[in-house]
């Protein structure tokens, strides 16, 4: 049986600087032992512990989709000890990853429904995983209409810029990208995410919304969805907490009786209502 504390060795094969401020990068990792890729079988919404020997570990949502084979991707903001060390890394470096951890976006629950994805800023990573999973040719017909509303403070802070352009070319995906404030070259939409949600006004009929973003965005977006008629069971989000083990043992990421690492990070608003507000 796999020892859950031991990382799989991986090689950093590609590093993409996502934003103008250069503090958000996507790291593409390839398993050193090809058989480990099968063991690291994941579902969108799960996370991994990125492991840099000598520095420690950091829990990060998986940004690639399981439909993308041969590698996994994590988009990481430079913030603490581990993520700063990661940002110093070069392609070809060896590191480790543990996981996959956590529940996931509720794929079975989403099937057959219209999906509204709402993302803000850097918290778009596991949503990107979900979008790429749903629009894959083998999966697309299992989901109804897909609407994406994604915003960042300014154009330079949008992540996955190339992908956003590709997605906009598709006719089976309604993509709405917005920035709080544009610049001279920005030709797209301007406006805060909650406002755009109100303008796009996705129907609540047989629909689920999956929301990830900064707390302030979530706070102002939720009332919009309540007004549109979305029930709390059909509003899904993902929590973050300080974590170490990732498997519900080290005891720090609990919200009430639930461990965010093991029982979460994904919860519906209805589930969150039953938990204490200690997060």
């Amino acid at each position: 049986m796999q020892n859950p504390y031991i990382p799989y060795p991986v090689e950093v094969t590609k590093i993409i600087t996502e934003v103008d401020t250069k503090d958000i990068k996507t790291f593409r990792l390839k398993f050193v032992n090809p058989e480990d890729e099968e063991k690291f079988k994941y579902i969108p919404g799960q996370f991994g512990e990125l492991s840099i020997y000598g520095k420690g570990e950091s829990p990060i949502g998986i940004a690639s989709s399981p439909t993308q084979r041969g590698y996994i991707e994590f988009t990481v903001q430079k913030a603490g000890v581990v993520t700063s060390a990661l940002h110093e890394m070069e392609e070809g470096t060896l590191m480790g990853v543990r996981g996959p951890m956590g529940n996931s976006w509720p794929i079975k629950f989403l099937e057959g429904k219209n999906i509204v994805i709402v993302g803000g800023g850097f918290a778009f990573t596991t949503l990107r995983s979900l979008i790429n999973y749903m629009i894959h040719e083998n999966n697309r017909k299992r989901f109804g209409k897909i609407t994406v509303i994604y915003g960042a403070r300014n154009p330079g802070l949008l992540i996955y810029k190339d992908e956003l352009i590709e997605w906009q070319k598709r006719d089976d995906l309604n993509i709405n990208v917005t920035v709080d404030k544009g610049d001279a070259t920005w030709k797209g939409r301007e406006g805060f995410v909650p406002t755009v949600c109100k303008e796009v006004a996705p129907s609540a009929e047989n629909a689920v919304t999956v929301i990830c973003g900064p707390p302030i965005m979530i706070r102002f977006t939720l009332p919009v969805f309540f007004d549109l008629g979305f029930k709390k069971e059909n509003i899904i989000t993902s929590l973050e907490m300080r974590m170490k083990c990732g498997i519900g043992k080290c005891g720090r990421c609990n919200v009430g009786s639930k461990y965010v690492c093991k029982d979460g990070p994904v919860f519906s608003l209805a589930e969150l209502d039953k938990l204490t507000k200690e997060y």
Binding site: G56, G251, R252
Partner: protein, 340 residues
Amino acid sequence: MEKRLIKKDALVGIAKKMAEELTVWAPVKKEDNVLFTPLTKDAEPFFAYLNSKNAPKQVFFPHTETLMKYTRTPKGMVFSAEENKAGKTVLFGVRPCDAHSFVLLDMLFDQEKYKDQYYITKRNNTTVITLACAEPPYATCFCTSVDGEPVSADGADIVLTDIGSEYLAEFITPKGEKLAKYFGETKADAVAETKKKEIAEKAKKAIKSKIPAHEVKPILDNNFEHPFWATIHGKCLACGTCTYMCPTCHCFDISDEAKASDGVRIRSWDSCMFPLFTKETSGHNPRISQKERWRQRVMHKFKYYVDNFNAIACVGCGRCVMSCPVNIDIRKIIEDISKL
């Protein structure tokens, strides 16, 4: 069940004999304390003790433990898993409250989905010999309030009970029976068993300290927000002693210790009493003050563990009561909660 009688003065010899072939942890007198220590030529077992200062959980869950090692190569660090070296071990003379803590820790470390092999390997390799409390050691003992008893086989492979002139040795599990050869050949008779039952009853009644541990669960369910939580922590120093002394506290940190060419990843006991325990890189801390940390400690033991494992994560050993430098008493807290 195999039951034998052994002479009182034979116990030290039995432990020492075992220590010739196996790793034996036993209570050993060290300066003013009795500590669970691996027996060596210089470490004499001491069974006329009340309870050990340190909880014996450290045998399965050490203060600091290496999870893996790594070395630097030109392409980056390469790791190797730490070999689990736990050989056959005997934990000799554990008090029933502490043996009960192993059952509680098993629930966490040996879950169906995520198995903690570091803990499980040591646990599986260890035979637990309980030394029942014929007389309750301390006025602060409250095991009977938290599903324990001073004479109990919970968590034990062998139970030793002082029945006056002799010890009654009961071999509870096959693992315990494997060590029967060390305990002489004198079979226990019905008289010894009756005597043991009397002693067990008497010891149970002698536990005077009681807390409404089961009664507070529904109150905790409904009072996460309550002014009471602001009344516990005022004098707390956040030293973490209560959690370090506790036989059931299991929270840990994982950190790396690196040198230029190699290093280790270790896990160490951590404490929910520390501000950094939940502080996130952004600066946000969901448990912002000692009030929230105390609520977590009480909730974890008397509500969350019950929700998740249907067991209270307290064994009533009283170590936290005795060790707290500012006299915060969990018994008083539970008592007060029961009256909310």
